[in-house]
């Protein structure tokens, strides 16, 4: 059931939406230089949910930062629809691990932020805001400040802020890393559901193999630093286990096997240190 890149299912035969071509990122110069990412190439197709896993410090977050345009790669290009992607923007919306909600703005101001920056008309802003508040269950927190919300709620707002832009691609940098296990489970299920309903193009970074198998259509395993792509694992798309939450999925035979295979790969990299 578990296919590798050699046995690619033709499901996503379209052109790649987001392309990372030979990305290398180096920090510092000379002797103190650190190569975080070494010649990584990755194509993400429209509607695909790609998850990048790897040991701590392997450069997966850096890869995403470059993909988002927040850092310039030392070498290589980032292409969106075949054209150089340029500076960061709402076409590559980001959900950060540390939430990054603007503390001086209310929930609704935060969510509307991108809409205001890109000049969306006011009535459209309201419409989309109302929609997101409903979907993410934030209606009663419209006027709250981030400091008044729990971590889980804050991340919901951050997701809403990204989704309200109707982004062409969604980049998520270990978004559930700062949350407790229960909140994490609920949000994972929610993201899963949203993806199935709306068919977002997603690049998702995590260190949790379980999360990767649960959420991803394709899992990319990275080596330890300097990070290269070790292996790509294709996962079947419309499988039973992806309709429940992660606890239910974890009982499925195929899930267990995929997890085992991917974890073995990651473990190799951790131990090879």
């Amino acid at each position: 059931m578990i296919a590798t890149t050699e046995q690619l299912q033709p499901g996503h035969g379209k052109n790649a939406k987001l392309q990372l071509r030979n990305i290398t990122k180096q920090f510092g110069n000379g002797e103190q230089a650190v190569v975080a990412v070494d010649d990584c190439s990755l194509d993400i197709h429209e509607g695909e949910f790609v998850v990048v896993v790897g040991p701590s410090g392997c450069g997966k977050s850096t890869l995403m930062t470059v993909a988002a345009g927040l850092e310039e790669p030392t070498a290589g290009d980032v292409l969106l629809d075949g054209i150089p992607a340029g500076p960061p923007g709402p076409r590559r919306s980001v959900v950060f691990q540390k939430f990054a909600l603007f503390p001086s703005e209310t929930v609704q101001q935060n969510i509307k932020f991108g809409l205001q920056m890109t000049g969306v008309p006011a009535d459209e802003q309201e419409r989309r805001l109302a929609e997101q508040l409903k979907v993410m269950g934030l209606e009663q927190f419209r006027k709250a400040y981030p400091s008044e919300l729990s971590g889980g709620m804050q991340q919901r707002v951050a997701i809403a802020r990204a989704l309200v832009m109707q982004p062409e691609t969604l980049l998520m940098d270990e978004p559930f890393g700062a949350l407790d296990a229960q909140t994490r489970t609920i949000l994972q299920e929610q993201v899963q559901r949203l993806h199935r309903e709306q068919n977002y193009t997603v690049m998702f970074i995590t260190h949790s193999v379980e999360e990767a198998v649960y959420l991803g259509d394709r899992v990319i395993v990275m080596t330890k630093r300097p990070g290269k792509i070790k292996k790509e694992i294709q996962l079947p798309r419309d499988v039973v286990w992806k309709t429940g939450d992660i606890e239910q999925a974890a009982e499925h035979k195929d899930f267990i096997e995929a997890r085992r295979e991917i974890w073995a790969l990651v473990r190799e990299e951790i131990v090879a240190g």
Binding site: K98, A100, F102, S104, G114, S150
Partner: protein
């Protein structure tokens, strides 16, 4: 100790209550000593230390009869007015300069050294220069207040902006904000607590400078009152001035502190819970 057992008798057990009790007792004791050494037993010459009753009657005198043309509230008004102008200008120039120091690198490279150098000249050293330029007028004192309040605004604004977590700037960029919009909607609000702290320091520095400036030059104001007291060898007048200055300074700081909740409403609940 004896006092402790006495206090617990009255139900005063917590540390905070004890501190207040000790404090009150000390102040009352000092007051008592003051009264005893002056009005009661006349141990100290009235020329050196007036009795509390003399000070009180002086207060009443200055409130009702004009002292060098103004009653007490008139002098207070004059002092506060000059201080207000100085702080105002320091704020509208200082905060932008501080923000630019952190936001526009070439500006900092060019201007910071000269700012640092001028910072080392104490505000009072500007008094003779101000007098030369403006004579004995409001502008003189306001200028001294400006010099005293300006650095706090600049330094704290710069600090606030430079310490804003890069991730907020990243998030703003991702969601399409241009440079100035990022500054206005994200960075400055994030720096606001620090800027506010600068306001508190600037206000207090300005107040100190004002009093000094009025001591040296001028014909009205609380500082002037004190120097007049010295010239007339009226220690009670000096006391009236000192007490008023102290009380006003504390009141102003208190007001500012309380207004933080109103100006920065999102700081109400700063501790973030996770999950």
């Amino acid at each position: 100790m004896i006092i402790d057992t006495l206090l617990s008798h009255f139900g005063v057990t917590s540390n905070r209550a004890k501190a207040t009790a000790y404090g009150t007792i000390t102040l009352l004791t000092l007051l008592l000593v003051w009264i005893m050494s002056t009005s009661m037993f006349q141990l100290i010459e009235p020329r050196v230390l007036p009795s509390p009753s003399t000070v009180v009657s002086k207060y009443i005198q200055i409130i009702t009869e004009p002292f060098s043309g103004l009653t007490l509230d008139g002098h207070i008004y004059e002092s506060v007015r000059r201080w207000g102008w100085g702080v105002f200008f320091a704020m509208i120039i200082g905060i932008p300069v501080g923000v630019m120091f952190a936001w526009v690198p070439w500006f900092r490279t060019l201007t910071y050294p000269i700012f640092e150098l001028l910072h080392f000249i104490p505000p009072f050293a500007y008094i003779p220069l101000a007098v030369l330029w403006f004579g004995a007028s409001t502008a003189t004192q306001a200028m001294v207040v400006f010099v005293a309040a300006f650095p706090a605004f600049v330094i704290n604004s710069e600090l606030g902006v430079s310490q804003v977590d890069k991730i907020y700037v990243d998030a703003a960029r991702v969601f399409g904000a241009k440079r100035f919009a990022t500054l206005r909607r994200v960075v400055i609000p994030a720096a606001a607590p620090s800027i506010f702290q600068g306001l508190r320091i600037a206000i207090s520095n300005g107040w100190m400078a004002l009093v000094g400036a009025e001591l040296v030059v001028g014909k009205v104001g609380l500082g002037f009152m004190i120097s007049q007291g010295q010239e007339n060898a009226s220690v009670s007048t000096i006391f009236v001035g000192l007490i008023t200055i102290g009380v006003l300074g504390a009141v102003i700081d208190n007001i500012i502190q309380r207004s933080e909740r109103w100006i920065l409403p999102w700081r109400r609940n700063v501790t973030v819970n996770n999950g």
